[in-house]
């Protein structure tokens, strides 16, 4: 073989060897990381997506919603039976509707609790890292386009390993958050000065209830084809949230009409918390707020005699 050809052949072998070793090491690491870190942390969005897709726990009451669900509902306080908080930070109706759809595919009879945001039916995915481990099952519900390599083991988590690890550490050591059956609750409290700044900002922010037709019809279709009890809960907002809320009557009318359905129960606790120190910001509670709200919700559920 000519010297140059031999060199090129050897170079190709070198590249191939590098790729094979990286692939074997990377794929093994990726597999171990998924098992021991990503899916081993109940509070990560990725583990919640994986759980709803792969696990059927017959007596588990699921809680769906956005970050307001994730940080406000303490499952062990609300339900005596098994319960899991599937709230996804940054996710909106397109995400909790996906969870609801998956839940309704299961042979279960438990009620389903959904945190109803007054913003209504909107699209928002949250961190795309929540969906990468189950990319094929989730990509169609997302607004955001993914990367072409999201199906390739190891490489698919490029730039995401740290965030999964961070959630895992947070859950194991409860450094800044307290965790409970999927829910994660902020320990930190804002100073009065910083909270007042947020209140001032919120007072000048226009909010409204919006109804995306596709999401709304999907919700209607899902609730009309199940006998399971759906509990819609409006969790607490700070009073400043309503300062420039454009169409609060529309929300009230919508929820009132919805509550007329047999399998739908609406619990409205939007004004339940008055104390500023129980809020993380004007639309989210801190841990103390979450505990107080969860206790109240438990009483409300008891009073409404829903069979849990």
């Amino acid at each position: 073989m000519e010297k140059q050809n031999l060199y090129i052949f050897n170079f190709s072998v070198f590249l191939l060897k590098t790729v094979i070793i990286v692939a074997v090491a990377g794929f093994s690491f990726s597999f171990a990381f998924e098992k021991s870190i990503i899916f081993n942390s109940q509070i990560s969005g990725a583990s919640k997506v994986n759980r709803i897709l792969t696990k059927t726990i017959v007596d588990e009451v699921p809680i769906f919603g956005s970050s307001r669900a994730d940080g406000s509902y303490v499952p062990s306080i609300i339900f005596e039976k098994k319960s899991h908080n599937y709230g996804i930070s940054g996710g909106q109706a397109n995400i909790w509707l996906f969870f609801l759809e998956q839940e309704l595919k299961k042979e279960k009879n438990t009620p389903i609790l959904i945190n109803f945001d007054l913003g209504g039916f909107n699209y928002s995915d949250g961190d795309i890292g929540n969906y990468i481990p189950n990319w094929n099952d989730t990509k169609d519900i997302l607004v955001e386009d993914g990367e072409f390599y999201f199906n390739v083991p190891f490489i698919k988590y490029f730039g995401k390993y740290e965030s999964y690890f961070k959630l895992f550490i947070n859950e194991k050591f409860n450094l800044t958050k307290i965790t409970d059956n999927g829910g994660s609750f902020e320990k930190n409290k804002l100073t009065k000065y910083n909270f007042d700044k947020l209140v001032e900002k919120r007072k000048n922010t226009v909010s409204s209830f919006t109804k995306n037709n596709r999401l709304l019809s999907k919700f209607n279709q899902l609730i009309n084809t199940t006998n399971r009890t759906i509990i819609l809960v409006v969790s607490p907002y700070h009073s400043s949230y309503f300062n420039k809320f454009k169409n609060i009557n529309e929300v009230d009318n919508y929820l009132s009409n919805l509550s007329k359905k047999n399998n739908i129960k609406v619990i409205d606790l939007r004004n339940f918390i008055k104390n500023d120190s129980l809020f993380l910001n004007t639309s989210h509670l801190n841990y103390d707020g979450a505990v107080k709200f969860s206790q109240k919700l438990k009483e409300e559920l008891k009073a409404s005699k829903i069979e849990l």
Binding site: F11, T18, V22, G159, F165
Partner: protein
Amino acid sequence: MIFNSIAFLIFLPIVFIVYWSLRKKPLLYQNIVLLTASYIFYGWWDWRFLSLIAFSTIVDFIIGVRISQASTNRLKKIFLIVSLLVNLCLLGFFKYFNFFIDSLIESIGFLGLTFDTWSLNIILPVGISFYTFQTLSYSIDIYKGKIKHTNDFISFAVFVSFFPQLVAGPIERASHLLPQFLKKREFNYNVAITGISLITYGFFKKLVIADRLAIYVNSIFKDIDNANTISLILGIVFFSFQIYADFSGYSLIARGISKLLGFDLMVNFKKPYLASSIPDFWRRWHISLSTWFRDYLYIPLGGNRVSKIRNYYNLIVVFLISGLWHGANWTFVIWGALHGVYQILYLEYSKFIKPSIKENKIRRLLNILMVYIAVTFAWIFFRANSLNQAIAYITKILEFDFSFNLVQVSAQKGPLNLVISLAVIILLYFSYLLPKNLGFKKNSSHLAFNVIMILLIFLIGINGKAEFIYFQF
């Protein structure tokens, strides 16, 4: 096209395969492939800039021939001046026009006069400072008789636009790079493997170190008011390593790709933060630029073979222009001026050091630390968006607020990011233990090195598609 993009990941193997598959054809074929690849690479940003680089290439090619053929020195000089004027006018217009207009309007404003503020919306062509200096060195070296002109237009065009080093250097001299385009290249297995290792090490520096540190640095510079002395010091220390890893990472990738194609580019960085004096720092930092200024500006001005005052004047001029080369902003001018002053202070200080005092380890370590502090202080001006921001940064440091608040100290990016940031700097120093120019004796060492680098890039690298800092210059 940037190195850390999917487009480049596809582009490079295609160029590599096509280029070496033509190795048995005449040299012209390979050079045409390189020229086409370089123009595609450059045009990927904005195809309109291609006309600029083509114009610069044609002008300097013709002038190179004319200088060589000129019958008198006067004529040679005229052609050289034409080359200087054309290149520097292009650079001046695209890079400095708005800066000078805005500065002029501000200065007039100080006198109480007002003018309508206007300036053209000029987009800075990527890499213009780099390739302008490269073509200038060609004309000057022919004028000085150091090199002969080339009649091979294609080779000259590739020399100007060679894609691995086109947009951020190293700024190659015609005497070193141009002859490499004029002779047949042979594929060398060992050189190519070293090239691959340089590329992965470069990406490691960029994606693992520079882009990681950028998270903290950007957060601090965005919100100086909410930082304290600890976080501000950490911020500028991190920036010193960010810019080093970013720029040296680019240079490594450029050298690695060149080696894959059978070319040798100059080393641009030699562990600069181990410099024990300011002149030593400039022998280790952005070597291709500092030697360019030395050869084409400092020495022609008289260098150090003049009176002390004149030598100091020369140093200040060189460093002011070096600062301005980096960008059309007063912050860069101050940065350059600071380094000029450092040089003068060092020259004065070195007079008091007795040659009999041997440099022991502790003294050397102290020198390294002092140089690092001086250089890092100057980086504040380099990184700041404006003089006001730089002053605010320094003023805030001088508040001496050493209260330990985790949110402040971690620049609101979390303790894990802070820990990883510190860890990657330690990792950088560990990488200094690697053999010079990654000259591993065994190929298995190259293999292990590449595997480790690639795994680390995917595990702790930042997937942010951030451009290299020096692209803006």
